[in-house]
């Protein structure tokens, strides 16, 4: 049998982790951020060298001094950020570093044919000569997989492969994984999304604090049990939705348009309400949020706050009017990574504790200390560089920032993306608290269980427009939302077909 075994007892940041993968098997690795998943992969890929422990490949002990050696041995890793050259074509990327060359000149025809074969094997249609830049994220991922296969990979590691894919693309990726599995390739699949883990894994390995908690077959494993193992304690429920009295309209939007991305959107957001907004990637959700926050100019439409029309020329105007936006991309749009946690927290709020342009640092420290305690932000000191915090704690710093801004309308764009289960739960509780305090909350999310679990009402967007509204959230289903998300016409076709 083509068995592959690896064990790492006593690796730094990994405390005696043991991992076994058989050929043609999909092993899902789950755990909270900081559980040691990344370290484990990097050790496997030859980026880190283990301090102790042994690795066996096909029964032979192996040790990799570099990622290149691991690659030679048939181990390929597809990281969240792809290793592709955007300006080069799909074919050139696949064969980069191991060109099919004749007399030192790459044989384009042979490479093209082989690329075609690889794409057909995965049942996708990609032009091998298209520049990678012009491909979608899902297509780029396929190019990465093709690259791994062209190198003769027998063990494929995928780190959060679906984080930026649409639901349809996720299904296609999972199909590709099953095909590869049939061809005898072993796959290690790392994901925060438990639905996918249940859909694709043969066995599930749980890690926590660098330790191997358990590896169990998927059969007989349920969601609650898995979460408990990941968090190390039981959560009463995944979505602690609380219902509040919903009050008067706070934010009213009529005919809001930004050509090409948001078309004629109207919505009403009430006090104490959590309005879920979902749709496929590219449906215009984030773009809508940016319009409501004044980050981009609108071409047409009207925004009213408490009945008064608002002219938003910049985020500055929105903040002054009492609107906050927790952005989708923490690192690119939320944080200034080289500044301290405290400075990041303070950024839009400096006027609260400055006098004639001078910052009263005592007050600033006291305010931040208050949020560190109430939000349970884990940091060694207030001046710790925010870059060095975990994803969940970075998100909490940003939430503290907007809580301090004390806005009446809070827009959360993907508030739990890339955050571990424990921190997610705390963020849900916070959303409840804000709603209870009479704030109006717009929660944008791609995770349908989250949208269904936390919203009072749900809006679905498709191609820049609101394609549907769900008021009876308690009885709504994911399928119902998906049908709206892919657009009414598609839905009609489906019904006919």
């Amino acid at each position: 049998m083509d068995g592959i075994e690896k064990s790492f007892p006593g690796v730094k940041a990994l405390k005696g982790v043991r991992l076994t993968l058989h050929a043609g098997e999909v092993l899902a690795v789950v755990g909270e951020n900081g559980a040691g998943k990344s370290t484990l992969i990097k050790t496997l890929a030859g980026v880190h060298r283990p301090d102790a422990g042994t690795m066996m490949l096909d029964g032979q002990p192996v040790s990799f001094a570099s990622p290149h050696e691991a690659q030679q041995a048939g181990i390929a890793v597809i990281y969240q950020e792809f290793n592709l050259v955007p300006a080069l074509s799909a074919r050139e990327n696949i064969f980069l570093g191991h060109e099919r060359a004749r007399f030192g000149v790459p044989d384009r025809r042979a490479e093209r044919a082989e690329a075609q074969r690889l794409f057909e094997r995965m049942k996708v249609q990609i032009d091998p000569d298209a520049p990678v830049r012009s491909l979608s994220v899902a297509q780029q991922q396929v190019v990465e997989i093709a690259k791994a296969l062209s190198l003769g990979a027998r063990l494929l590691v995928m780190d959060e492969p679906t984080a930026t894919l649409t639901p349809g693309e996720v299904d296609r990726l999972l199909a590709i994984i099953r095909d590869l599995q049939r061809d005898g390739i072993g796959i290690i699949y790392i994901s925060h999304r438990l639905e996918e883990v249940f859909a694709v894994a043969d066995r599930v390995m749980v890690m926590r604090d660098g330790e191997h908690i358990d590896t169990l077959p998927r059969q007989g494993l349920d969601r609650e049990r898995l979460i408990e193992m990941m968090v190390g304690r039981s959560l009463e429920q995944e979505f602690p939705k609380a219902r509040h009295a919903i009050g008067a309209p706070r934010l009213e939007v009529r005919g809001l348009t930004r050509r090409g991305v948001v078309e004629d959107v109207s919505l009403t957001l009430r006090r104490g309400e959590v309005l879920g907004l979902t749709g496929l990637v590219g449906a215009g959700r984030t773009e809508l949020a940016r319009l409501l926050f004044g980050a981009d100019p609108a071409d047409a439409g009207e925004i009213r706050l408490d009945g008064r029309p608002l002219a938003l020329r910049s985020p500055r105007d929105a903040i002054a009017a009492g609107i906050s936006l927790l952005t989708e991309d923490r690192k690119a749009q939320g944080l200034v990574l080289m500044l301290s946690a405290r400075e990041n927290f303070a950024l839009p709020n400096l006027s609260h504790w400055s006098r004639r342009g001078f910052i009263r640092q005592q007050v600033e420290r006291a305010r931040f200390a208050h949020y560190i305690e109430s939000l349970k932000i884990k940091l060694s000191h207030q001046d710790q560089t925010v870059r060095n915090l975990s994803g969940g704690n970075q998100q909490k710093v940003l939430i503290a920032r907007w809580l301090e801004a004390n806005a009446d309308v809070v827009i959360f764009d993907e508030p739990t993306r890339g955050i571990d289960v424990g921190a997610k739960y705390e963020i849900y509780l916070l959303i409840n608290e804000l709603a209870a305090a009479g704030k109006a909350i717009l929660m944008i999310s791609s995770e349908l269980p989250e949208v269904l679990g936390m919203s009072d009402r749900i809006l679905v967007m498709h191609e820049g427009r609101i394609s549907g509204e769900i008021t009876d959230v308690a009885h709504a289903t994911q399928e119902q939302i998906l049908a709206l998300a892919v657009g009414r016409e598609d839905k009609a076709e489906k019904v006919e077909g």
Binding site: R316, P348, I359
Partner: protein, 452 residues
Amino acid sequence: MLPRLSSPPNRTRIQQAVSQFFSNYGMLLVLLLLCTYYAVVTLEEQNPRGADAAEALLDDLTARVPAGGTVLIATKANEEDRVFAAALAEGLRAAGYTPAGPVEGTPQDLRQALEAVAAQGRPIAAIATTRDNAAIVRNLQRQVTSLAETPVLTPASYRWPTFLRADNIRNVANQIVVIAIIAVGMTMVIITAGIDLSVGSLIALSAVVAAYLIQAMGGTEAGTGAMLLASAAAILLCGLVGLFSGFVITRFRVPPFIATLGVMQIASGLAYIISEGKSISAIPDGYVWLGRGADLFSLPNAVVLMILIYAGAHVLMTRTTLGRYIYAVGGNEEAARLSGIRVHAVLVFVYVVAGLLAGLGGIVQASQLKSGAPTYGLMYELYVIAAVVIGGTSLFGGEGKILGTLIGAFIIAVIQNGMNLTGVESYTQKVVLGFVILGAVLLDMLKKRGLR
């Protein structure tokens, strides 16, 4: 058991503060090491000069010559020796002696003067002179019989590093003051992830405009008000040039490197047009007050100005909202905008400050040289950027310290001065300075990699 003086949390806090200090100002250590090195290699016999020499001689003289005697002062005919003679005469009178002379000039002059004194028949208790002049005086003394036995006293010499002499340190400070002042503005610009290449040309423009205006308002006869007005106008003009750079960068999204490269050419060209390519030196003597004067505790006025600017900029960057915004804009422009910061206003501000300070640098330069020429400030932008980078500011933006830049500027000045003192030729100096800049950047990279 020894008593515990500090509790452990306190101690770790101190350790933390110390390590924080060195990670922020590690270059200070480099500067101190450089100073120590040059102090050691330039340690040599020093002859006191001027008033210091008079003081040193007076101590020796009162111990050896009985009070009330007449002391003849003999010196060479130069400014320094005249100061020496005047200070000594005053000191002698105060101590109850009778100063005679001073006699000064070439050996022939001295001989005639000595003979004249001898002819008067007054008893001379001692002859006081400088070390440089001592051999000549002793030689002449033997030829004048009545003075042959009179002791010749000179100020005692002492061992001291040339590098650490007060006049050398003043020299270092004066050399770097223009670059250091401009580097404050450049630090702010670089913290916003920008660059300003126009500062060197602005030195020339400012100096030329100020000199031109003074010339127009009376030339060497111009009054203080005219000089102030001309200087203020030149600085303001440079501020407007900075405003223009900032506008081009924010409004049209031109990369700062390109925008200020263009402005650099424009400003330099304007300086040549206004001055018609010549140096303008019809300026009153009083104009050197800023560049050469030293009114406060014998600190040069320009250095006092520099210290004030650094103190102000340090407070701005560490204590004010505007300073915080400058860091935030440089660290992540989009995040800053989404936090309600007026990003464009902040960027324009830093380019205006850079322009104003470059203009001020030009005025200091014009004051030091008592003229304005379009050739001033050539390549200064590179020294200014080097000072900022050596001071630990990241060219990627978001990180940097104003006081680090001051240290960076002094590292450059000390290396240049030290190489001058030890006789390293100027071409070699360039090579060394280039390696210092590369070394500073590498050190910064290593430090960051070590932390992560």
